[in-house]
Structure formats: C-alpha cells, structure tokens
Amino acid sequence: MKLGFTAAEEAFRAECADWLNGQMAGEFADIKGIATLTEKAERRKEWEQQLGAHGWSCIGWPKAWGGRGASLAEQVIFAEEYARAGVPGRVNHIGIELAGPTILAFGTEEQKARFLPDIAAGKTIFCQGFSEPGAGSDLASVRTKGRLDGDEWVVDGQKIWTSLAHISDWIFVVTRTEEGSKGPKGLTFLMMEIDQPGIEIRPIRQINGDAEFNETFFTEARCPADSLIGAVGDGWKIAMGLLSFERGVSTLGQQMAFRNELDAIIAAAKANGRAADPLIRQRLAKAEIGLRLMRYGALRMLSNSDHSKVDGAALTYKIQWASWRRTLGELAMDVLGQAGEVTDNAHYEWDMLPNLFLYSRADTIYGGTNQIQRNLIAERGLGLPREMRGDSK
C-alpha cells in the first residue's frame, strides 16, 4: 500500500500539465473553464480532435487503437492534470468511457478497427440510447423494437434522456429483437449513425434552463446487419458490461472537476465573508473530506486487482458522488446567499455555482437513482433478498 508517485510518474505529470496548460493558454483558451457539457459544443469537438492528434485522448487504450497504453498511475495523473488545467469536460465522454471500452471488450477485431481509432481521434462522437419513456429506473423494460430486414436492422421506438444526442454522430441502442420477450431477455445492442431520416432528436429543457438531454425517436431507422455488438440476444449482458465501465479512471477526472467546484465555493466564501461562519466552515470541511474520500475510494477501486469479488468501493461510488455533489450544490447556494439567486443573464443561464445547485438534482437520478443504487448495494454488496417485481409473481 503506497500513495506516492515515482519520479518518472512525476515527470509524466509535468509533461501532461505543460501540454494542457499550453493549450488552455493558447489555441483553446476560449473554452477554458467551461463547466457545462453543452456550451460551445462545436469548439469542443475540435478540442476532442486536438487531444486525439496529440495522443492525449484515450491514453489508457492500447497503442494500436489510438491510445498510449498508459499505466494506471499515469491515467490517474493525466485525469488530475486535465481538470487542474481548467480544461472542460469531454463532449465525447460516452464514446471514450462507455462505447470505446465496450467495443474493446466485446467487439470484433473489425469493429475495433472501425470505431476505436475514430473515437480516440475525436472524429466519432457517441451517445447512449438506454432509457425509455415510462421505464425510468427499470432498464430491462425496453420496448424499442429491432428487426432484421435483409442486410439491415430496422429500429422503431423511442429513447429518452439521451445526453448530448444533438451533437453526436453515433448512438448505441438497446433494442428488443425477440418478439414477445420480456425483461432482460431478447435484447440486442446496436450501433447506429444518427444522421439519417429515421432518427429524430428533440431536446429536453432542464430545470437549469439548459438542454443537455434529448428524446430520440426511431422511425424505421436503419443500420447494417453487422452493427450489433455481441450476438443477437446479448444486449442486456453488453449493456451491463458497459455500465460497469462507468467506474473507471474517468472518475478521477470527474473528481477534479468537483475539486474546481469546491474551490470556487471556498473562494466565494472567503470573498463574501461567509468563511468566518462556523456552520459554513463545518460544511466546507465535510465537503473537503467527502471529496478526498472519493479520491481514495477511486484509487482503492482502481488498485483492486481481485475483480472476482464484489468491490464495495465500486458498488457504492455512484451514490457517494451524486449525494456529495447534491449537498455541495446546497452549500454553494448557502455561501452565495441571495446573490446566487439572480443572474445578469437575461436567458436564464447560470454561473457555475448556481448551475451546480440546479444540475446536481439530476445527479441522484440519472445512471440509476439513489434508490436503485441502494437496492444494488443491499442485494449485490450485502446479499439481501431482491425486491419483488410486480409482474413476475
């Protein structure tokens, strides 16, 4: 057990920091510090390509597919420096964190060659079509239909909460390909190009005024017969595998973004005098502790080489960060006071901290609500009895 980094690793840290700071001071200065996923999307696609061109896009991937085969420690370092430099989040995070690893794990060699280098190069932006209207947390109740029509899959149905669909090139879709099947059976995982007549994207405006999420309508949408990952009927297995990738090294980058948010609150508290309030001080300290423990939880999770056992750190990670961030949003507002409830912007667009307050209410919902997370923890982590399904009795 060891927390420090080697001299070589520290040198790597300097290299990352140099390059990233250079970019943020130079060609990409205009996107420095952006905190939402939607702002300046087109410029940020160019940033994805810049990362790819310099080999910094997916450093943990094998070199053959556009990565640099970086070690765990190096990935940790890069993620930290990325956020420390004020670089905005990756608009292709679904591609690099979910689609890519899924293809790497379950795809054919041909699929790897076709998708991975383009994802790493920032040329293919992915989004994710899991949730459906009326299904919510019940991911297995997929109703979107897929059927083979000659050498093409034809897809009809609707997905919802497709984050960033409006700026994506591809979508992966879980479809029900076996007529009359129920729950997790009979599903197939397809990759589809978005720019086609059969796919329509409608933005969903959120409570923060922004529209990161979308409804995605499929009306005889088409993709080639070989667009599936895994076999026909493997959709649930692939989808579950994909969700487990959510807990990878990218969490450390996410945490550094949280670090920036907490630092902004600390700065605000010092600036407006709230830092002198012992109640605020306790809450800032709790936020600091929570953030540190997230970091060391993630390092424990990543250092854990025994993947045969249920990893408690991994299992509890989602609810931990989501709850932490929601609490952080409330702290931000209490530090700002009424000044945080007004904005100079006439269009109901919010600065980082009020936006954090509003947006973080979604954190405890998407990707498995806190309630679903607690079920999973109790059932998988503690072996307690499963919830009954009303329709399976």
Binding site: S131, A135, G136, S137, D138, I160, W161, I204, R205, Q206, I207, G209, F213, D277, L279, M333, D334, G337, Q338, A339, G340, E341, V342, T343, D344, N345, A346, H347, Y348, W350, P354, F357, L358, R361, A362, T364, I365, Y366, T369, N370, Q371, R374, E387, M388, R389, G390, D391, S392
Partner: protein
C-alpha cells in the same frame, strides 16, 4: 385554548384553496414567469372576486378585519399553487403602515392596498444607503416582485420610508431570478424624496412579523402540495411491474415528508396566533416557523424532483417551480441558521 380553525377560518381556507387551484394554473404561472413574474389577472381576481388583499387590515380601512391566522391561510393556499402573486411584500407593507403609519398615511394608503389598487413591496436598503434631509440614497438589492410594485416601504437602518414607484431618482431594475414566480428587482435610490412612517420601529416589527408568517405559511402550502402531487404520481407510475408507491423506501420518504409537514402546520398557526394574540412567544414562534417551514419545503420539493425521476428534472414539469420557490424562501428575511441563532440567544439568555 382551542387550536383548531373556527368555522369561518375553515371556510376561508376552503375558498382560498379552491380559488388558487382553479386560477393559478401552471399555464398561467408560466406565462407570468416569461413576463414580469406577476399574474396580473390573478391579482385582479384575488383582490376583487375574492377581495382578500386586505385580509389582515381593519374593516375601517376597507380590509376584512381579520388577522395573521387568516393571512397565513391565504399564503398557504397561494403557496400550494406557487401562485405568481406579489402577496409577500403586499402583506408586509400593509401591516407596516397599519402599525407605524400616521393617521393620514393610513387613511391615504391602506384602503388602496386593501382594494388591491396599489401593489406594494418591502425593501431592505443595502449597507451604505442613507436617508438624509428627506432624500434617500443607496440601493436595495433583492426586492421581491419589485418590478411590479407601485409602492415600497424601504427600511434604512431604523427608519421606514414610503417610496413611490414613480418617485424621481428611483431606478427599478428587474433581475433574472432563479424563482421566476417571485422575481427580484434592484432598486437604486438617487436622492429619492421619501416620507418616513410615523412609528418606524412598530412598522418594521409588523412588517417582519407579517413577512415571516407569510413565508412560513407559503412554505407549508408548497410542501403539502409537493407531497400530494408526489403521492399521486407514486400511485400511478409503474416500475418493475409495481406502482412505485408500493416500494417501502419510497413510502418512507413520503412518510418523512408528512412528518415534517405536520410539524410545519403547527409552526405556522402557532406563530400566527402569537401575533394575533400579542403573545411574548412570538419572539420564538416567528423564527421557529420561518426556519422550520423553509427547511420542510426545501426537503419536500427536493424529494418531489427525486421521486419523480427524470421527468422531475425537466422544465416542463412543475417540480422545479416548487424547488426554486423553496430555495428563495430559505434566504428571504433571514436564513434558517440566523433564525435558529436568535432562538438560541433567547433560550440561553445571552445575546451572543
């Protein structure tokens, strides 16, 4: 000692609830949000049809001759629908003038407030503001519904001033506000001619009392509505083949909301009674009610979003109206921490 509504109070409650449920629709509120944050038609109906703009003003001045309990009943009903109405400032100013105005000021202004002809708001001047030689300089930063008020009572230190909307030197700037159903405005005072209320201490105390009761009551109404709507959703929405309201974790969360709401209800009417009865307990009851009800509403509105899942996070759903109103109540007229500190000072007998 009888801590239940009289028949008259029960009737007012029923009438007010029905009125706001029918008229303060989501559609109309959203239209107001897109404009100046005031549903002017609703205000007209409230002041004329219902005739309750002066609920807590004496009949001599055209009011209903009732008190803070009835004022709370109205605020609770309006809060349940997140009505986009300038009730808060109106109640504060009405009571301030009643308590601290000269006979002429009362005779001049109160009847127009009671009739709803004037819309009023209350403003706390920012540090650095001053009233010297009859002229007010400085600013007030977050005046609720400030952009649609005709008349302000402005607190400058220990002075209370009447400032009219069209007074020379007054600049009113509407602010994009998180809670669009009660948007703030900034007032800038460039040597504004202002008339002081005769008894400023009484006026400011009365304004504060009315404000705290209104905020607590509207928070109660909002919390109750958040619970009711979420229960309805829980019965109708099916997940994993069951109504989500059949999941115990969901049930317990709703039960927790009810537990807080029942206490909030006691708090609001306790506080209102202490004002109406001139009880010393008001010094505890008012901060207690404000702090407790604001927290209850925020908890319930947060749960409303959470328990609706993704849809609760959309602009289209009304959950965010509740959530944002709850947030704004937390900071209006002092945070919960401040009110609890005031209570601590009182029970500990110190002034720390």
């Amino acid at each position: 000692m009888d801590f239940a509504f009289t028949e008259e109070q029960a009737m007012i409650a029923e009438t007010a609830r029905a009125f706001f449920a029918e008229q303060a629709t989501s559609e109309r509120t959203r239209a107001a949000m897109a404009a100046d944050g005031c549903d002017h038609d609703l205000w007209r109906a409230f002041t004329t049809e219902l005739g309750l703009a002066g609920v807590a003003l004496p009949e001599d001045f055209g009011g209903a001759g009732l008190g803070m309990v009835e004022q709370a009943i109205i605020a609770e009903a309006a809060g349940a629908e997140i009505a986009a109405l300038p009730l808060l400032g109106h109640a504060m100013v009405s009571r301030a003038i009643l308590a601290g105005g000269s006979p002429e000021q009362k005779a001049d202004i109160l009847p127009r407030l009671a009739a709803g002809e004037l819309v009023a708001s209350f403003a706390e001047a920012a540090p650095g503001s001053a009233w010297i030689d009859g002229a007010l300089t400085g600013a007030a930063l977050h005046v609720p519904h400030g952009a649609c008020a005709d008349l302000f009572v402005v607190a400058v230190g220990e002075t209370a001033l009447l400032v009219e909307r069209d007074a020379p030197g007054l600049a009113v700037t509407p602010l994009t506000s998180m809670d669009q159903t009660r948007p703030y405005a900034r007032l800038d005072f460039g040597a504004v001619a202002a008339a002081p209320l005769a008894d400023a201490a009484a006026a400011l105390a009365a304004a504060r009392e009315a404000g705290l009761v209104c905020l607590a009551a509207e928070a109660l109404g909002g919390a109750e509505a958040a619970l009711k709507r979420t229960v309805a959703y829980a019965m109708e929405r099916v997940q994993f083949g069951r109504p989500i309201g059949s999941f115990q974790a969901y049930k317990h969360r709703l039960a927790d909301m009810m537990i807080e709401i029942e206490q909030a209800k006691s708090a609001v009417y306790w506080a209102a009674c202490t004002v109406d009865e001139g009880s010393d307990e008001a010094a505890l009851a008012l901060p207690a009610a404000k702090a407790f009800c604001a927290d209850t509403f925020f908890m319930c509105a947060g749960n409303m979003i959470q328990l609706h899942g993704g849809i609760g996070f959309t602009w289209e759903h009304d959950a965010h109206l509740f959530f944002k109103r709850a947030r704004s109540i937390q900071t209006l007229l002092g945070t919960g921490d401040m009110h609890r500190e005031a209570i601590a000072a009182k029970i500990l007998g110190d002034a720390a």
